[in-house]
Amino acid sequence: MKNEDIVICRCSDVTLADLYELFEQGYDNFEELKRIARVGMGPCQGNTCAKMIQWEIAKYFDRPLEACAIKNIRPFTMGVKLQAIKEAAEDED
């Protein structure tokens, strides 16, 4: 299988081959992978990649899926322009 042709994160263009390389370097959880490879930080906010990454972590490091769940979710769920937030704050004043 050509892991470089298996796309895991469409938003940040991260392939399974990229993921394996990061695993080998010791990045073994979603939070760290997010910071180093920007997975889950694009427009879909992890809705496409997170489950696949959880599965790949479990398989590669031989851990139960439950131990690889993605827990940290923060606002926002989508891109919001600063302009829009500024205008909302002005409306409130």
Partner: protein, 361 residues
């Protein structure tokens, strides 16, 4: 700031059913949905429902949507519907940050029901980013909502009810379904649906998965292969299929991103599709006056989502101090409906998952 007694996020079968109960009890309700039309997935469900008459069995999803919306009509003065509006954030003081047409505004809610439903799972395989690779929901939207064929020759991946039903709908639209593959050793969805597409000549192949998509700028073919007992592909078993569309229907996962922002406790329960909120019998999460029902709580059918929505609505109304006539009796009856819906082998997984969640709670 705009205020609301109860904000329901998601106007699908669960959210609409919860709204009805709350309105009937006298509450002020705001329904927010990011789509322009209420109904959630019911919009694309052109097939007839199973289950019992109480959940509109033998009616089409798209019609059920009309009944649910019409049910709310008498309460127009206490109901605010905000469609085309996305909740982009929920803060722990129940302030919701919403976005409509690029305009941001906040709503302060006394109680919040999260009925956001689910998202589709993706699948890693070679060239899975080629145009022509679709999620089943997208195919349903194209065909059933917009009347557009996704392609001419399809490989369906996944034999849950969605894969089976969408496979059948593709055939109805005059599209060739070359094969339906399933990684497990048995059909995931109802056998009636599987038999229907088998009778129409579609090979349904268990213990088989997609190995890769083939094509330069778009899908030109697909290669499938048999799986061993560890779900790994067996080299030498590859078969090439002449398709221009690959439809992925490998399950759903609860859309808990907003729920998790409220600070509720979630746990990963694989039988329920992923991270799910811990709930009590009234669909209360671990945060006061935050509720979750429907697919966001456990992946099931729209029928059970409607029943869960009604139970949640009754509890949420009472928690806000509204009186609900015959509440105890009605909740019991609804719980009984859920029990029936989850009976038999198809409901086994969800029964196990819910039991697991109860233990965790």
């Amino acid at each position: 700031m705009v205020t609301s007694e109860c904000v329901i996020v998601g106007g699908g079968p669960a959210g609409l059913s919860a709204a009805k109960e709350l309105l009937e009890a006298g509450a002020r309700v705001t329904i927010i949905d990011r789509n322009e039309r209420l109904g959630g997935q019911l919009i694309k469900q052109t097939h007839m429902f199973f289950g019992s008459e109480k959940q509109y069995a033998s009616h089409r999803g798209i019609d059920i949507l009309e009944y649910l919306v019409n049910d709310l009509a008498p309460y127009g003065d206490r109901l605010e519907i905000r469609t085309g509006t996305t909740v982009a954030a929920i803060y722990q003081d129940k302030v919701l940050g919403c976005l409509k047409d690029e305009k941001y505004f906040k709503i302060k809610a006394e109680s919040v029901i999260i009925a956001t439903g689910a998202s589709e799972k993706a699948l890693p395989f070679e060239n899975n980013d080629l145009p022509g690779v679709y999620a089943a929901g997208a195919v349903q939207t194209l065909m059933n909502e917009y009347g557009i064929k996704p392609g001419q020759k399809v490989l369906m991946v996944g034999s849950g009810n969605i894969g089976l039903i969408v496979g059948y709908q593709l055939l109805q639209a005059g599209i060739e379904v070359k094969a339906l593959v399933e990684a497990a050793d048995r059909i995931g969805g109802y056998l009636v649906h599987a038999s229907k597409i088998r009778r129409l000549g579609v090979p349904v192949l268990p213990k088989t998965s997609i190995k890769r998509a083939i094509g330069e700028d778009a899908v030109e073919a697909a290669e499938i292969w048999s799986l061993d007992e560890n779900w790994q592909g067996i080299p030498g078993t590859e078969k090439k299929l002449d398709v221009d569309t690959i439809c992925i229907a490998v399950g759903l996962s609860p859309l808990t991103e907003l729920l998790q922002q409220t600070g509720v406790r979630v746990e990963y329960v694989r039988e329920l599709g992923g991270n799910v909120p811990l709930l009590d019998e009234g669909y209360r999460t671990t945060v006061d006056k935050v509720y979750a029902c429907g697919d966001v709580a456990n992946i099931e059918e729209a029928s059970s989502a409607m029943v869960e929505g009604r139970i949640t609505g009754i509890h949420a109304a009472r928690d806000l101090g509204h009186e609900v006539e015959n509440a105890g009796f009605r909740i019991k009856a609804l719980q009984h409906e859920l029990y029936d819906l989850r009976g038999g082998p198809p409901g086994e997984k969800v029964r196990q998952g819910i039991k697991k969640r109860e233990v965790l709670a």
